[in-house]
Amino acid sequence: MKVQEAPNPLAEGLHDYRVADPAVMVIFGATGDLSGRKLLPALYNLAKQRSLPAGFAVVGAAMTEMTEQSFRQLASQKIHEFSRTQPIDDRVLSSFLDMLSYVKVDFSKTEDFKALGKKLQEIDNNNHIPGNRVFYCATPPQTYQMIAVQLRASSLNTGDGWKRIVVEKPFGTDLKSARELTETLHKVFTEDSVYRIDHYLGKETVQNILAFRFANSIFEPVWNSNLIDSVQITIAEEIGIENRGSYYDRAGALRDIVQNHGLQLVTLTAMEPPLAFEANAVRDEKVKVLRSIRPLLGEEIEESTVRGQYTTGWVLGEKVEAYREEKNVASDSQTETYAALRLFIDNWRWAGVPFYIRAGKRLPKRVTEIRIQFKRPPHLTFGREAMKEVDPNAITLRIQPEEGISLKFGAKVPSAGLRIRSVTMDFQYLTSFLVEAPEAYERLLLDCMIGDPTLFTRSDEVEVAWSLIDPIEDAWRNGRPPLETYPSGTWGPPSSSTLLQSEGREWHRP
C-alpha cells in the first residue's frame, strides 16, 4: 500500500527525480525471456539513471539450478544484448550485478519459498531494507495463482514494509478466469498492491494522449459529438505470430490485442478529464468509459464486428505463409488474426459517435494510431467545386512508429482562382525532442517501486473489458459472423471496409 506522507523537501525542484524505496525485487522466472529481454536491462538502465537507491537488491528466482555467479553472468549477457542504452557502462553494470542474488525456487514447493524468505531477510539486514518487496511474476499466466498462494503459505506477503506483486497480461482469458485470478490475488494482496502490467501504458506516446487532451485548452472544446464524426483506432502489425502459435491459436486478435491495448486506447481517447494525474482519479475515469460502451449482443455482433485470418501473401516485399501453415497452429484453425469492431459510447460526450477499432497481423505495415475524424463544415462557403479536394478535418495521434500528432485542414492553393486543398500540420516527437524516450518497462518498474499504480490496470477495468469481449468471443466461436480470410499484406478482409462504407465512411490509410 502506498503510504501517504509529506514530500521530501530536499527532492523539490529535482527534475525527473524518481527514486525507488530501498526494496528487494524478486523476479520469478528470472532466467526466462521476459526477464532477460526486458526486466534486467530495464533495471540496469534505472541504476544508470541513479533511480535505484543504496541497498536496493534483486533476487532471481526460477526452477533452473544455477549459482549466484552464473545468474550474474546471464544477467550481464542479457543486458549487453538487450539494453536500450549502449555501450554498456562496465562500472554501472558491475555495481548493478552486485545487487543480484539467485535462489532456485520450484513454485510448487513451499519450502523453496521459505528458503527464499530467509534470503530476503538476510538482504534486509545487510542493506537497511525495512521489508519492502516487489514480487514480479515473469512467468506463464497459469503460475500466477500458484505463486501467490505460496507467498501466503510462507508468510512472504506479510511483515514489515510494503509488499507488491506484479503480473503481466493476459489477466485471464475471459471474465470468469479474470475474476478467479483476482480472487486468488486478493486473498494474498490488497488490490492496491497488485500491479497488472500492460506495457502499452508505459509508452510515452500513449501517455501523451492525456497530455495532448488535458494540458491544452484548444482541443477539449471540440472533443465531443458536436464536432467529431467518428474515431478510428488502428493497431496493425506486419509480423505474423512468430513462435507463439500454441498461445495465439487459443487467444486470437480479439483477446490478444483488442481486449487490452485496443480498449485502453478507447478509454484514453474518450475519458473525461480526471481531477489529477493520480492513480484512482485516472482509472476511475477509464472505467467510466468502459462501463459506458454499449455491449454488443445478439445480431449486433454480426453487424458490428469483422473477423479475419491471413492467408499467404506478400509483406514488405517478402512472401509469407498462411496462418494455418504456421507452427503450432491447427490446419483447420478458426482463430482470427484480424478483428474489427464498431462500438458506441453511450454518454453525453460521445452519443452517436462510432469508434472503429481494427487490429491485425500480417497487415501491410506496423502502425498504431488514433484518428479523430471531424464533421464537414455545415455550409460550403467556397462552393462544391473549390472544396472537392478537401477532406474533413482530422487529428491523428500516432502511437508508433513515427510518434506524433498531425492536424489536417484545408488551405487555399496559391493561384489566381479559389481552390482549397487538404494539408497537414505535423508534430513529430523525434524532430521536436531528439532525445530517446525511456523504455516502457523502465517507467513501469519504477512506478511500481515508488508505489504509483496510475499506469497499471485495476481489477474492475479488467473485468469490465472482459464483459464487453466475452459475448463477442462466444458469438465468434459459434461462427457469427463467419471467419473471412485476407491475403497477407492487405488491410484485412472485405467486410472490414463494408463495416464503414455502409455508413458513408472509409478506413483512413495510415
Binding site: 529535482l14 543504496a54 562500472r91 537497511h128 505535423d426 523525434l430 531528439l434 532525445v435
Partner: protein, 457 residues
C-alpha cells in the same frame, strides 16, 4: 535516435559589414531551400522545428569556439536557432560581420530538421545594445536563452538591455572572474530581473547529483524524520580562498532553504575553514567547510558532503564523496574492519578509528553482560563468539565519474553505494538545463541563502 555529427557545419551564408536585415534575408532563403530539399513536387515541404533560441555571448575567440561547438551539439538533441555574438575591436566603417552555418539532422524515422547558427561579430556601440541586434532574429513563440560565457557585466546597462528580450540567463559561476564578487552580483539579479526572467547557473547544475544522493537518503518514509535531526554538515571543497567556496555555499544554501534553517552566524578561519551555525526549529545545526587538496578536483569543486545527526534515538551518518582517494588498508585490527568507512577520506578515517576504539572498549568492558544478553548464558560461563570480520574489499577503482555514498544508521552495517555521474561538460549541463527551462525556484532560494552565507566570510 538522432544522427549526431561531429564535422563542421556547413557555411550557408556570410557577409562583412552587413545589417541585421541582410542576415534576415539570408535566413529566409536558407529556410525556403531547406524546406524543399529532397522533396517531390507534390509533397509537403519539411516542416520547420525549433524549440528555442540560444544566444551565446562570447567575450573571447576561444569562448566563441566553445559556444559554436556547444550549440551545434545541442542542436543534435533540440532543433534550435543559435546566435553567437562576439564583440570585436572597433574598425572604421565596419559594424557587423555575420556568418550563418546550418546543421541538418535526420532522425531515424522522422523528417529532417535544421539548426541554424548565426555568428555575429559586432563592433562599436552596437555591442552595448544587444537587444536591438538580436530581437529581429528571434524565433517567435519559443523561449530565448542568453548564455553568457565568462563573467556578465553585473549591474551594467549592457546586461540589463540584453536581458530585456530573454526568458533566461545562463551563467557558470565556476568560470567567473572575481567569483566572490560576481556571485554576489548574480544574487542581486534575483531582485532586479523582470518577472519572466529565469536565472540558471551551470555550477548549480553540477551539484544536481549531490543533491540527488543526499535527497535519496531521506526519501524512504521511515528515514524522513532524520531531516529534523541533522546536527552537523561537513563540506569539503578544493582550492583556497573565498572564491572557491561558492559550490559549498550553494549546497549549504540548498539545504538551509529546503529545510527552513536560519543563519545565525558564520566565520571563516585559517586554512579555508568556515564554521556556520543555523537555527532549525530550536535546534542548532553546525556547518563546517574544509579546504582539501586533491589532484582530481578542480578549485571550487566539492570533494565530499557529510551529514550526521540523530532522531528518535537513532544516529545516522551520510557521506557522499567525489572520486575518493585510495589508501592501503591500515594494519590490523578486526575492529576497524567492522567499520569499513576507513580509507575513503580523512573524516571517514577518523570516524572509523573513533568508532572502532569505542566499540572495542565497550565490548571489552561489557564482554560478560553482552554475552549474557545475547545468549541467556550466565556471565563468565562461556566466551562470546568473535565479531564478524568484514574482510572482503568490495571497492572498485572508482573514478571522477562516480559518487560514493556511505550510509550508517544506528549500529547497523555501513552501506556503500556507487552511482554514476552524468557527463558534466557544458553541452550536457546546458541540455539538461534548457530542456527543463531556467525558472527554478529552488535555485533562486538556494542562491539567496548561499549569498547570505558568503556575505559573512
Amino acid at each position: 535516435m538522432s544522427t549526431t555529427t561531429e564535422h563542421e557545419p556547413l557555411t550557408a551564408w556570410q557577409g562583412e559589414d552587413v545589417t541585421v536585415g541582410d542576415v534576415l534575408d539570408a535566413l529566409h532563403g536558407i529556410r525556403a531551400k531547406f524546406a524543399r530539399t529532397d522533396v517531390g513536387d507534390d509533397e509537403h515541404g519539411h516542416p520547420r522545428n525549433c524549440v528555442m533560441t540560444l544566444i551565446g555571448i562570447a567575450p573571447t575567440e576561444s569562448d566563441e569556439r566553445v559556444a559554436r561547438h556547444t550549440t551545434q551539439l545541442i542542436s543534435s538533441e533540440h532543433p534550435a536557432q543559435a546566435i553567437v555574438i562576439r564583440e570585436e575591436a572597433p574598425l572604421r566603417g565596419h559594424h557587423l560581420d555575420a556568418w550563418i552555418t546550418t546543421e541538418a539532422q535526420q532522425p531515424g524515422a522522422g523528417c529532417p530538421t535544421e539548426c541554424e547558427i548565426i555568428t555575429l561579430h559586432v563592433r562599436g556601440a552596437a555591442a552595448e545594445h544587444l537587444a536591438a541586434l538580436v530581437d529581429p532574429l528571434l524565433v517567435s513563440g519559443v523561449p530565448t536563452y542568453l548564455w553568457w560565457l565568462g563573467t556578465p557585466p553585473f549591474g551594467k546597462k549592457e546586461l540589463a538591455d540584453a536581458l530585456r528580450v530573454c526568458d533566461g540567463l545562463v551563467v557558470d559561476s565556476a568560470r567567473f572572474n572575481e567569483p566572490f564578487n560576481s556571485f554576489r552580483g548574480l544574487s542581486r539579479l534575483l531582485k532586479a530581473a523582470h518577472h519572466r526572467l529565469g536565472l540558471a547557473d551551470l555550477q548549480w547544475s553540477r551539484l544536481r547529483p549531490w543533491r540527488e544522493m543526499i535527497a535519496q537518503f531521506f526519501t524512504p518514509v521511515d528515514r524522513r524524520h532524520f531531516l529534523t535531526g541533522i546536527a552537523e554538515v561537513g563540506v569539503d571543497y578544493a582550492g583556497d580562498g573565498r572564491g572557491n567556496r561558492i559550490a559549498a555555499a550553494l549546497i549549504t544554501g540548498w539545504m538551509a532553504g529546503a529545510l527552513g534553517w536560519r543563519l545565525r552566524s558564520a566565520a571563516a578561519g585559517q586554512g579555508g575553514v568556515v564554521v556556520a551555525h543555523y537555527l532549525a526549529s530550536g535546534r542548532s545545526v553546525e556547518v563546517d567547510f574544509r579546504s582539501v587538496q586533491r589532484e582530481h578536483l578542480t578549485p571550487g569543486e566539492l570533494g565530499a558532503v557529510r551529514i550526521a545527526g540523530a532522531s528518535r534515538g537513532t544516529t545516522f551518518r551520510l557521506s557522499v564523496q567525489h572520486d575518493p582517494e585510495r589508501r592501503p588498508p591500515p594494519a590490523d585490527t578486526v575492529y576497524q574492519a567492522m567499520h569499513p568507512t576507513e580509507g575513503e577520506d580523512d573524516a571517514g578515517f577518523e570516524l572509523a578509528q573513533r568508532r572502532a576504539e569505542w566499540h572495542r572498549d565497550v565490548l571489552h568492558e561489557n564482554l560478560g553482560s553482552l554475552h549474557h544478553t545475547a545468549t541467556g548464558d550466565a556471565p563468565g560461563e562461556s566466551r562470546p563468539r568473535p565479531p564478524i570480520v568484514l574482510s572482503r574489499d568490495r571497492r572498485r577503482p572508482d573514478t571522477e565519474r562516480v559518487l560514493l555514498t556511505l550510509i550508517e544508521i544506528g549500529e547497523g552495517r555501513p552501506l556503500r553505494h556507487v552511482q554514476q555521474l552524468d557527463r558534466q561538460d557544458e553541452v550536457a549541463l546546458l541540455l539538461d538545463l534548457l530542456s527543463t527551462g531556467t525558472h527554478d525556484e529552488v535555485f533562486n532560494r538556494s542562491l539567496a541563502a548561499a549569498s547570505a552565507l558568503i556575505d559573512k566570510f
